[in-house]
């Protein structure tokens, strides 16, 4: 088992955002998490990425509990998350944004020898990473915007840049928080293409999204949440036809 959530609970004062949720993600899977607004999807991803500490429960990554680790340590171990509202370094160019994200990759390649790079040595490693940055930009269709400031990108491009930066961290498990929200039809198709390639290259994906059609085409397995609780889990069609899920989305009477 790649990642496992055991009895995860998150309370914000009186509000229970995630309540006793357990599930697992296997290597190479694409897992979708659905649920209406406020059902705890983003909180669940934040718990997995270390951005929030759980009130109770465990997140186990490759056999080790990681729920108390810092987000940068979790990222270094291969679990990387993108944000629902695109987060970029607005004052830097698109290339520089992805270059900043090469931090972990450089660390993996050079270790403590990175110090040499400061002194002007170890240039080849840096050069190879720059090539990798270009490859990632090509993969994400961002090459035309390479030298543009990230702050001047369109919403869709910003979201794609967020994914490019996450990819530059070389994740084994990529957590995507509503990657398709706010995107046009063409942009969603493009996103699907990119995610297919990323998955084909060996990255496990876990997506949270509202667009049920988007997840239906992509996910191997879907987990449905409502009021912080897991209400269904299984193949996309099976989960989307569950009465509890239909009720959560459309209200009582439609189920």
């Amino acid at each position: 088992m790649f990642l496992e959530a055991r009895d995860l609970t998150k309370r914000f004062s009186g509000l229970v955002a995630v309540s006793h949720v357990s599930f697992s993600i296997d290597q190479g899977e694409i897992v979708g998490i659905i649920g209406p607004n406020g059902s705890g999807k983003t909180t669940l991803l934040n718990l997995m990425a270390g951005l929030l500490p759980p009130t109770a429960g465990l997140v186990v990554w490759k056999g080790r509990a990681i729920q108390r680790l810092r987000p940068d340590v979790i990222a270094a171990q291969g679990v990387v998350k993108t944000f629902q509202n695109p987060q970029v370094f607005a004052e830097l160019s698109v290339f520089q944004n992805v270059q900043v994200a090469s931090h972990l990759a450089l660390k993996r390649r050079l270790g403590s020898w990175r110090g040499l790079e400061v002194l002007g040595a170890a240039r080849p490693a840096e050069r190879r990473l720059r090539e990798r940055v270009s490859e990632v930009l090509t993969l994400c269709d961002l090459t035309p915007a390479t030298n543009q400031l990230a702050g001047s990108l369109s919403y869709g491009e910003e979201k794609m840049l967020g994914i490019a930066m996450a990819l530059m961290c070389e994740p084994e498990l990529l957590l995507l928080d509503e990657p398709a929200s706010g995107l046009g039809r063409e942009e969603v198709r493009n996103l699907e293409r990119v995610l297919d390639k990323v998955h084909a290259a060996g990255t496990t994906l876990c997506l949270v999204d509202h667009k049920i059609g988007f997840l239906r085409g992509l996910a191997d397995r879907v987990i449905a949440l409502n009021h912080g609780e897991k209400i269904a889990e299984g193949g996309p069609e099976q989960v989307l036809n569950e009465p509890a899920v239909i009720e959560a989305y459309l209200g009582r009477g439609h189920a």
Binding site: R70, V73, F83, V100, H103, E117, V118, A166
Partner: protein, 313 residues
């Protein structure tokens, strides 16, 4: 290209300018330049408004002098333990501030409090620091000069070059660090700490690194300043120093390496050029700060850079 010309001009200046007055102003500019550039590493590049610079400046001035007089170390050898002391202080103060995730004004106020604490220790530790009276620095640092052997640094031209070389080395080191992954991590922290964290950057460690590197390099300015002026007192550690360095960086252009030096030149040169009393100088600094923030928030170098970028499509 432009920068190389500027540095070339600085190195050639004493060949054409014989005025001791001007060379002295430039020497002060270079020492303050070291202070301003290193402050900008912490403030302009990493986004941490540190008020700890005067503490490092003052402490290193005292430790360098005491190591020379009490331990008999040569000046240059004494600067290294002083830098180590600066690193130690930075690690203690930085760890506390960054562990508690202090940012912006909270960070500024707490670093200011630490700086003030150290100033009071220096002020009251009479047996070592001689209190308010300060210490007279009689010796001169020495350098090896081909053909003459080891000679003391004497006269405006010698001091001009020694301080210019020190500034050049500081700028070179900072430039290299900032152009590497280290500089990218600093920028990430300045621009979006949460995003930096999710990209695997250890925010605490890199903030501390920036703080320690900036302060360690600033410590050389303290040692030089004490020996150049021949006098050290607790005023080195005062909050005014913080304001002056901040004014230099804001005026010259934060987030650049040339900006702080330009700011240092203007703010060191101006008061001497128009011969101002200390109180009037404070008014001038305040006025320049207000003017810069309102009219050119990017400072001289930043504004020029933006203007050039607009002209070249």
């Amino acid at each position: 290209m432009g920068q190389a010309l500027l540095w070339g001009a600085l190195y050639a200046l004493p060949l054409f300018v014989r005025s001791d007055f001007l060379l002295t102003i430039f020497t002060f500019t270079f020492i303050y330049g070291i202070l301003a550039v290193t402050f900008d590493v912490i403030f302009g590049f990493t986004g941490q408004l540190s008020m700890f610079h005067p503490a490092v400046f003052g402490v290193s001035a005292y430790t360098t002098h005491l190591l020379v007089t009490l331990a008999g170390l040569p000046f240059w050898a004494a600067t290294l333990p002083s830098a180590a002391a600066a690193v130690m202080l930075s690690v203690v103060v930085g760890s506390i501030c960054f562990k508690f995730r202090l940012k912006t004004f909270y960070f500024a106020v707490v670093t200011l409090a630490f700086a003030e604490m150290i100033r009071l220790i220096v002020l009251n530790w009479n047996s070592v620091t001689n209190g308010t009276l300060g210490l007279v620095v009689a010796g001169k640092p020495t350098i090896y000069w081909p053909g003459h052997g080891v000679v003391p640094i004497k006269g405006p031209v010698a001091w001009y070059y020694v301080t210019l070389v020190c500034l050049s080395i500081t700028v070179l080191l900072c430039a290299r660090a900032l152009r590497s992954w280290m500089g990218r991590a600093f920028a990430a922290i300045r621009l979006n700490e949460d995003l930096a964290r999710t990209l695997g950057i250890n925010v605490f460690r890199y903030k501390l690194l920036s703080f320690a590197v900036g302060n360690a390099l600033a410590s050389f300015a303290g040692g030089l300043y004490g020996y150049y002026t021949g006098y050290i007192d607790p005023g080195y550690l005062s909050i005014n120093q913080s304001m002056e360095v901040l004014a230099m960086v804001l005026l010259g252009g934060q987030g650049t390496l040339t900006g702080p030096i330009v700011g240092s030149l203007v703010l060191t040169g101006l008061p001497h050029a128009i011969d101002l009393r200390a109180e009037v100088r404070s008014i001038l600094y305040g006025g320049i700060l207000i003017f810069t923030i309102l009219v050119m928030p990017r400072g001289i170098v930043g504004t020029l850079g933006a203007w050039r970028a607009r002209r070249v499509p």
